[in-house]
Symmetry: C2
Subunit: 294 residues, 2 copies
């Protein structure tokens, strides 16, 4: 399974040759041989909501506007229907400012919280869980033939993941078609960039699926649910709480998806098993990705 250049159907595909995303680093291997290795970049990006500094994220640096929008949306700091006046990225200052019409409810809350406890860092997690209350995802059938086709296609798509490693990818898909493939050093940045793209495009969520190379932790499951996407699949493992939340919101959750193998942790009744696993080839060892753990 080697990378092909067939990018048909993609709205956004990775661009592993982009100049700013990797740097040549000199290394010496176990036999003392010197070599130059293409290594992913990592840059700070400070996100502001109106006049409020929110967080500094470490990112490869592509799509800063989508990252900022998606981060604020997934943290519950931007609500549905909040009118976004502008998203301004400053390359030199390494900042993105998201501007809304008037103050957001989050800024109001932050002020109150800051007055009472002097700090707002701890609120983020509570806010995310709060945003999840009452969420029930639409019940959609998932064809295992689509799952296999997607995993195969995504593994063959040229990416920083295949070329340089030490990075995570998240792909927004519809049926057997990958649509938007984002990568980043943090697995959360990749999913936030997808959320930012969806918000900008007003994309429908109910007919989509999310595929990620990262683990299915509580935060990843919460983000997918907040985005309204009913299916989440990964080649990696999962945590107990991730599984519990998926069951609670009706998210179809599939982990350890490699070659013909997968494990369905939630939504088994929505799987349409229309593919014969015996006909699916084992994953070639080389698509086990380069130092991508972490």
């Amino acid at each position: 399974m080697s990378a092909t250049d067939d990018l048909s159907g993609y709205l956004i595909a990775p661009d592993p040759s982009a100049r700013r995303l990797t740097r040549a680093v000199r290394g010496v291997d176990h036999e003392g041989r010197e070599s130059e290795i293409a290594v992913v970049e990592e840059r700070p990006l400070t996100i502001f909501l109106n006049g409020q500094e929110i967080v500094t994220a470490m990112t490869i640096g592509d799509y800063p506007e989508y990252l900022a929008l998606g981060f604020l949306r997934n943290q519950g700091m931007l609500q549905d229907g909040e009118a976004i006046k502008g998203v301004d990225y400053d390359d030199d200052l390494e900042t993105v400012v998201v501007r809304t019409d008037g103050q957001t409810s989050y800024e109001e809350k932050l002020k109150k919280k800051t007055r009472t406890s002097g700090c707002a860092v701890g609120t983020v997690f509570g806010d995310m869980m709060e945003g999840l209350e009452g969420v029930r995802l639409p019940e959609v059938q998932v064809r295992t033939s689509d799952l296999y086709a997607l995993a195969h296609r995504i593994n063959q798509t040229p990416s920083l993941y295949l070329q340089a490693g030490a990075i995570h990818g998240t792909v927004l898909c519809k049926g057997a078609q990958p649509l938007v493939y984002m990568e980043d050093v943090g697995r959360h940045n990749a999913v936030d960039k997808i959320a930012g793209w969806m918000l900008s495009e007003g994309a429908e969520a109910a007919d989509k699926m999310l595929y990620t190379t990262g683990r299915l932790t509580s935060e990843m499951v919460i983000k997918t649910a907040m985005m309204g996407i009913p299916v989440l699949a990964s080649r990696s493992g999962f945590t107990a709480w991730g599984v519990e939340i998926a069951q609670q919101v009706g998210l179809t959750l599939i982990g350890r998806m490699r070659g013909k193998r997968f494990m369905c942790l939630s939504g088994e009744e929505r799987l349409l098993r229309d593919a014969d696993p015996a006909a699916v080839p084992e994953e070639a060892r080389k698509s086990g990705r380069k130092g991508a753990q972490g």
Copy 2:
């Protein structure tokens, strides 16, 4: 390479059978077979510094006191020589309060920052880089025979990593001896728990090495340098900025260490190549760990 029960020389080793760390989760595989899988837990833990709420971390839940101490230390919120009066963990409230004699300089700074910008979230990263200024690690030789021996020994040690996956491990080592092996859902929690242990025990740093399963990003390199440990090795990849910071502070950095292979990115001149790579066996496929990516 299967797990052995030889824990000689370890001061703290993983306890994969501990009741609270994993939960049995029901899954259905690609062939429709049901099974019960041991899956790692993930719990929120809110860390306070005196009266100040600092952060809510997601953790497997062991060693909460070390996690809190190490987190505060690695973020530069607790300085060297700050007198720690107590570390109180409350299991029901899922909180740890670290108490110092009098207010810390961080609390002072936080108040000022909160007054001026209304929020302190964004300061954390800046503080970490600030703490690094002028840091120059001691120059120590690293034997490749020790590197190989450590990787082999750590791979054979029973762990949540081998048993359940979806988790990261960090091991404090001296020569060829692993001493303290911590695991957690977040790779940063594992290294923070090591930092907390070192702070509690007043452990020497200059003669130690850190081995991690996670990627060598800027934050991981900064934390190791802040802890005063001169060598960092990983089975995973690295980022350009991680390599740059390692060179800047004189940290010996080794990545992609699997079987006989490794790549030295910084401190090549301090490697003592006393092992013949040809004599080191390739890593058995099964020690490629269960869904640990992420």
